[in-house]
Amino acid sequence: MSEHTNTGHKEHILPLSLYLGIGSMLLVLTAVTVWVSFFDFGEFNLVVAMIIAASKASLVALFFMHLKYDNKLYAIIFVSSLLFLAVFIIITMFDTLRRDDVYIEKSGPIQKQSLMYDSLKTHSDSTTVVDSLQVKEDTTTVDLNK
């Protein structure tokens, strides 16, 4: 393959109007997202905001980042990173949002009233290792080296 033909990337030269068009669409969507934020859709506020953000992001990725025209491998790579991020968020939320399934007092973040935490605080300067930090709501598992 001679380096003078450059057939591979001639096709990426998009018309000026496309860039300007996409740019103005992004600005319009920005205006829309600010505008809709003044309305209250209840639980759907976040959904609406995220849909608009996702469309803006798709425009940037598809046209400015050339995903629409380039090797599909790049698009696969890009989307899979979002997929892994989604896995991270969703599975973590199976924990954080469902802590109170069995014991209601376990809901939300670990409470500062946890006995374990208090005793740890007071021992923090004596550099004793607590055998893994098991924070339980009713017991103190600090078993210092006897």
Binding site: F84, F88, T92, P109
Partner: protein, 538 residues
């Protein structure tokens, strides 16, 4: 009689400066070899000192604080400085480009940069070591890691920096495998080592950034107290564990997948038989890589996560066993009716099969939620992950090191000593760690400095085992170093293997190939082609 070629990558350029500025993937592999083995030695010394201290139930020669710092450093050094870079950065760098018929990795300068980053990260770890050490365990769990007075920041910063080194290696391999395969090297003609490294690289680039941000959060929390992991300020320490294990569980597969990759290579080359189920082994690497991302919570069954999450994680954990099982069965099936030569690499391969099976199966016990509640944080865990990490990865690494040693240096090591050392390591390893399964199931908690008298015989036996293992390692160091100067020339292809690296001289020429090779046969077509071993009998 074999001869060492006149010029090769080792003597093509001379002087220390030519090594420090090299962009040759083989030389970078050698740079990594020496630096990583140095830290293996340091981490191993910590292990021996810990085992010696545990010989008796009472304090023997180090106090509890020192003990805590020592096991932290043992863990952190072995994980971040030895086992994660070991196979990809040493053997992967050295053979992966040659295997796919490339002249170098895609980004040679990035490759060198990754070594320098490794060294900088290592310096931070060393700094932590000399400035009093950290005592949090290698997991840096909050809230202890944000409240202890020891040198947590420097070691965490070290781990953060080392992450970049790992990312760059992974990124390089992904691009190399995609773009630099020689003509005819289709995806399914790639050696399985390349498949394994590819799967590893995927995990490295997907998981390591999360470790990066986690450690940054930890440092910020510790430095300026933003309280996101602090319950007193509405934060949640368990969240740290989620963040940490979202990286660190896949990281476990960053450690074991390269080991599996090596075994696939060794088992065919030393039994001269086509791999059984090539595609199954290749896909199972990707399967393991994917599954590794959805099971992290099994490290947190007793941490206070929701019961639902614990059940989901326990359920998902069992899926990891499937691709791992696929691999083990295929390896064993490869051995069936093959002509096994009991060379040192093969002995390591067989050791791997035995030890990894134990390590993997005990992992299934631990993945089962109710069993884990009992076994959590006992020596059973310690034994399990040493069986996988040492019995799996380190044994595979040593096997690979012996397999490619003649290619790296052009010289053979002493096979008899190699076998003796392998045997010592195998026996010593089992003495050390099988004992810990028993101890752990009886309730001996991990990370304890002092223990009740009942465990004394187990601990003592375990310590004796560590000495046997150490003897094996020192013997190995002796004959490997000896072979550099006095070893017999190995010839191009001492094992009679079929992958590309054995078709060029040992040591390889500076740019690997005069002409980019054209791949005509599969990597394991031992049924069609017989490659004669160039090894001269001693």
């Amino acid at each position: 009689m074999n001869k060492i070629p006149e010029t090769h990558y080792l003597n093509a350029k001379k002087g220390i400066w030519s090594w420090l500025t090299t962009v040759d993937h083989k030389r970078i592999g050698i740079l990594y070899l020496f630096s990583v083995m140095f830290f293996f030695f340091v981490g191993g010394m910590f292990a021996l000192m810990l085992r010696l201290e545990l010989l008796t139930p009472t304090e023997m020669y180090i106090d509890s604080d020192t003990y805590n710092q020592m096991f932290t450093l043992h863990g952190a050094i072995m994980i971040f400085l030895f086992i994660i870079p070991a196979i990809p950065a040493i053997l992967g760098n050295f053979v992966l480009p040659i295997m796919i018929g490339a002249k170098d990795v895609a980004f040679p300068r990035l490759n060198l940069l990754s070594w320098y980053i490794y060294i900088v990260g290592a310096l931070f770890a060393v700094f932590s070591l000399v400035s009093g050490g950290a005592d949090t365990g290698w997991t840096f769990y909050t809230p202890y890691s944000t409240t202890t007075s020891t040198a947590v920041i420097s070691i965490v910063l070290g781990a953060f920096i080392l992450g970049f080194s790992s990312i760059f290696t992974g990124l390089n391999f992904i691009v190399t495998v995609h773009k630099l395969r020689s003509p005819g090297m289709t995806w399914f003609k790639m050696p399985l080592f390349v498949w394994g490294m590819y799967a590893t690289a995927l995990i490295q680039v997907l998981a390591t950034p999360v470790l990066g941000i986690t450690l940054v959060l930890l440092i910020i929390e510790r430095l300026i107290g933003i309280g996101i992991f602090d319950p007193a300020m509405g934060g949640d320490p368990v969240l740290f564990q989620h963040f940490f294990w979202f990286y660190s569980h896949p990281a476990v597969y960053i450690m074991i997948l390269p080991g599996m990759a090596i075994i696939s290579e060794l088992i065919t080359a030393h039994s001269h038989k086509k791999i059984f189920g090539y595609k199954a082994v290749a896909y199972s690497s990707l399967g393991i890589a994917f599954a590794s991302f959805i099971v992290w919570g099994h490290h947190m069954f007793t941490s206070g996560q929701s019961e639902l999450a614990a059940m989901i994680f326990s359920f998902l954990t069992f899926f990891v066993a499937i691709p791992s099982g696929v691999k083990v069965f295929n390896w064993v099936a490869t051995l069936y009716k093959s002509s096994i030569s009991f060379s040192t690499p093969m002995l390591y391969t067989l050791s791997f099969l035995f030890l990894f099976s134990i390590g993997g199966l005990t992992g299934i016990f631990l993945g089962a939620l109710p069993v884990d509640i009992h076994l959590h944080d006992t020596y059973f865990i310690v034994a399990h992950f040493h069986y996988v990490m040492v019995g799996g990865t380190v044994i595979a690494f040593l096997g690979g090191l012996h397999h490619w040693w003649p290619k790296m240096w052009g010289r053979m090591y002493n096979e008899t000593l190699g076998k003796i050392s392998c045997l010592l390591i195998f026996v010593g390893f089992n003495m050390t760690f099988f004992t810990q399964f028993i101890m752990g199931s009886q309730g001996m908690p991990r990370r304890y400095h002092l223990y009740v008298d009942a465990y004394r015989p187990f601990h003592a036996f375990s310590t004796y085992g560590s000495w046997v293992m150490a003897a094996g390692f020192f013997l190995m160091a002796y004959y490997l170093i000896h072979s550099l100067f006095k070893g017999k020339p190995a010839g191009n292809n001492p094992w009679g293997a079929l992958t590309h690296e054995w078709s060029i001289t040992s040591p390889p020429p500076e740019h690997n190939f005069e002409e980019i090779p054209i791949t005509e046969h599969g990597p394991y077509d031992y049924d069609k082609i017989v490659a004669k071993s160039t090894l001269v009998e001693n």
